[in-house]
């Protein structure tokens, strides 16, 4: 059953005439030139929208009882929305039962129906036989054969959506009522609401202090999923609300998969799709850092950890521009790719807390290791021949130091390091930033990165789980970052002969380059037990080639590099074992 609509009868007649005229024009438009094929297809598309969507609806309205009665008797069956008189499509002007369920109830009654239905918990709903049935979500209940949820609830949603669309004052009232009727927010998932109403409803429900009710949680999940479906920009609008963001990050409130999708859409896809929103994203990130620094005793949710870790593929660049450890109270500034100031992201200490919170989840640890490796690849590739003299290496080193400082357990560090070591050979630099993959849509770029990161996670876990925990060598994130920088710089010189003059490594023979390349391949393929030995072998081979030795000395002398090799201050909790 289609949802109801209201219309001004005289204006609808004029609209139908205009639509017919527009359709005639489109049908007459012809051009057989081969250069006009796209235009012809676009014309046909507009034509189809009018023929298949507009005209049938306009014709149905004009042939409806209400319109016929109005046309014959003038002004019969009108009702008021605000200060204007309207007819309802299929309206019951002749006293018959209303064709739309709930179309004849007052606004108060409609909200009351939703309020009463909201006093449920999806974990225990009484079915037709009187037994208790548990559901994971409202969507599952709507798909079930439960009398109210599979029939009346969608009708209530349709009626609510119609009134909200028709009457801004009622929309405001509905938003104000979300506190007592959480299903108003859930309804946005089950009927076509204006997107700004969905954003407001989700913000309203996330600001609720009492999260004990299962209906509130289920409604928040439904509305959040709808916000993500409506568009990444809407997700960023929700995240921009400080109280809403606090609820989103908190464990146990939103479903983890919904939280992850909301954060990735708002903090990454929205910025890729609209670069002007970088500044909004920076503000959200700043708030997230502030909130994670001491707000949550139990840490942030798993979904928040995973979502924030994924978004770092974009945000590592603005953050790493300015990370330089001097003291914990130092403010770290964010900068865009052109060097413009995006404001502070937080103090060094707050960033440590933030990344510590993000990296409590194993999947997030693997993602952060992959992001760090991708960033190393991107920075070295961007710097090219300038890597020896510029500040590129120190940016990677300082960010690596920050992550190492953020980690509080050795096992966490090893998991991230395993991913970083595994990801290095994939050369993922193209994913870093917000405009790196111009050929992919925002969603496509994120999906591609997620796929690659997942493959790397599996591969890293496979490689490192082959090793007995007792004999597992230490795999400090700092050292892996140090080695990764070394390998990536050497690889750059090997793969890009034109940059060797700038790098100061001209005159090295092809055989010498081939030997270094062979050793790097062995390291990338090696498990953790052989890795350190192979890296030592590479360093020895490189030291015998004066130009390469001088290059690596300069790279290793950059600010932050020595710190990467210092023993990390980790709490060893239990037996440090590999992730499984």
């Amino acid at each position: 059953m289609s949802p109801p609509l209201a219309y001004q009868p005289d204006r609808i007649q004029a609209l139908r005439r205009l639509a017919e005229h527009a359709l005639d024009e489109l049908r007459q438009l012809r051009c057989d030139d081969s250069e006009a094929l796209d235009a012809a297809a676009s014309i046909r598309r507009v034509q189809r929208v009018l023929e298949l969507d507009w005209m049938p609806l306009l014709a149905a309205i004009e042939s409806s009882d209400a319109m016929v009665t109005w046309t014959a008797s003038h002004r019969v069956g009108l009702f008021a929305i605000g200060h204007t008189k309207w007819l309802r499509f299929g309206g019951a002007s002749n006293g018959e039962a209303p064709p739309w369920p709930y179309s004849d109830v007052s606004d108060d009654e409609l909200l009351r129906h939703l309020e009463l239905a909201g006093r449920f918990t999806p974990a225990a709903v009484v079915d037709s036989s009187g037994g208790l049935v548990a559901f994971d979500s409202i969507a599952d209940m709507v798909r079930s054969d439960l009398t109210f949820w599979s029939t009346d609830f969608p009708d209530l949603c349709a009626e609510l959506s119609w009134r909200v669309t028709a009457d801004p004052a009622f929309a405001d009232r509905a938003i104000a009522a979300v506190g007592t009727s959480p299903l108003i927010a859930a309804a946005t998932r089950f009927a076509a609401f204006p997107t700004d109403f969905t954003v407001r409803a989700l913000r309203a429900i996330l600001q609720r202090p009492d999260w004990a009710s299962g209906a509130v949680k289920a409604s928040a999940d439904a509305a959040a999923a709808q916000v993500v479906a409506n568009g990444a920009g809407d997700a960023l609008d929700v995240l921009s609300d400080r109280e809403a963001l606090r609820s989103i990050l908190q464990p146990g409130l939103l479903d983890d998969s919904v939280t992850e999708a909301l954060l990735v859409a708002g903090l990454h896809e929205a910025v890729v799709a609209d670069p002007d929103r970088l500044i909004d994203g920076a503000e959200v990130l700043r708030t997230a850092v502030e909130l994670t620094s001491g707000t949550f005793d139990a840490g942030i949710s798993v979904g928040a950890s995973r979502g924030l870790a994924t978004t770092m593929i974009g945000w590592i660049d603005p953050i790493a521009e300015d990370v330089l450890y001097e003291n914990d109270t130092q403010e770290v500034l964010m900068r865009d790719s052109a060097g413009n100031d995006l404001g502070p992201v937080g103090t060094y200490a707050a960033l440590k807390d933030f990344f510590g919170a993000v990296m409590r989840d194993e999947q997030a640890q693997l993602t952060m290791g992959t992001v760090l490796s991708a960033y190393t690849d991107r920075v070295v590739a961007s710097a090219g021949g300038e890597i020896r003299n510029g500040s590129a290496v120190q940016k990677i080193a300082h960010f690596g130091d920050l992550l190492r400082d953020a980690v509080v357990e050795e096992q966490v560090e090893m998991t991230a390091a395993a991913a970083a070591a595994t990801a290095r050979r994939e050369q993922l630099g193209g994913f870093v930033g917000f405009s790196a993959d111009a050929l992919l849509t925002a969603t496509g770029a994120r999906a591609a990165f997620k796929f690659v990161a997942g493959e790397i996670a599996d591969s890293a876990l496979d490689r490192f789980s082959d090793v007995e925990a007792d004999t597992m060598p230490s795999l400090p994130l700092g050292k892996v970052t140090y080695d990764s920088i070394t390998l990536t710089v050497l690889e750059r010189a090997i793969d890009h002969p034109s940059e060797r003059v700038d790098l100061g490594v001209e005159g090295v023979s092809d055989e010498e380059w081939a030997e270094l390349a062979h050793r790097i391949e062995d390291i990338d393929r090696a498990g953790p037990a052989e890795r350190d030995g192979l890296i030592s072998g590479l360093r020895k081979a490189a030291s015998k080639i004066p130009q390469v030795d001088a290059l690596l000395s300069d790279v290793h002398g950059k600010s932050g590099m020595e710190t990467l090799l210092e023993t990390p201050v980790c709490q060893v909790i239990g037996n440090p074992s590999v992730p499984t």
């Binding site: 205009l18 005229h21 929208v49 499509f89």
Partner: protein, 91 residues
């Protein structure tokens, strides 16, 4: 031969520009103004407006493409005309 080809290209460019003008003048672009919330309200009108808006945007982009194609054809025609002028022998 080149001059004939050049004339043909210029004729095609003119036709494409005519098409762009006709697209520009389509009343379907004005339909949205007559189909606002003061005419009809509800999820289905909203859906109709969204679909038409999206299709109209595609048509607008196609119009830009048509103009770009016309310009390219004119450039090719000019190139052929210059070649003909530079060619030795009677013109």
């Amino acid at each position: 031969m080149s001059q004939y080809e050049a004339q043909n290209l210029r004729w095609r460019a003119r036709r494409l520009r005519d098409l762009a003008v006709k697209i520009d003048q389509l009343s379907v672009f004005g339909l949205m103004a007559a189909a606002g919330d003061d005419t009809w309200v509800g999820p289905r009108p909203l859906d109709c407006r969204n679909r038409l808006h999206s299709a109209n945007q595609g048509l607008h982009e196609a119009r830009q493409q048509v103009l770009w194609s016309a310009t390219r054809l004119d450039h090719r025609a000019l190139h052929l005309e210059l070649l003909a002028l530079a060619a030795p022998g009677p013109r």
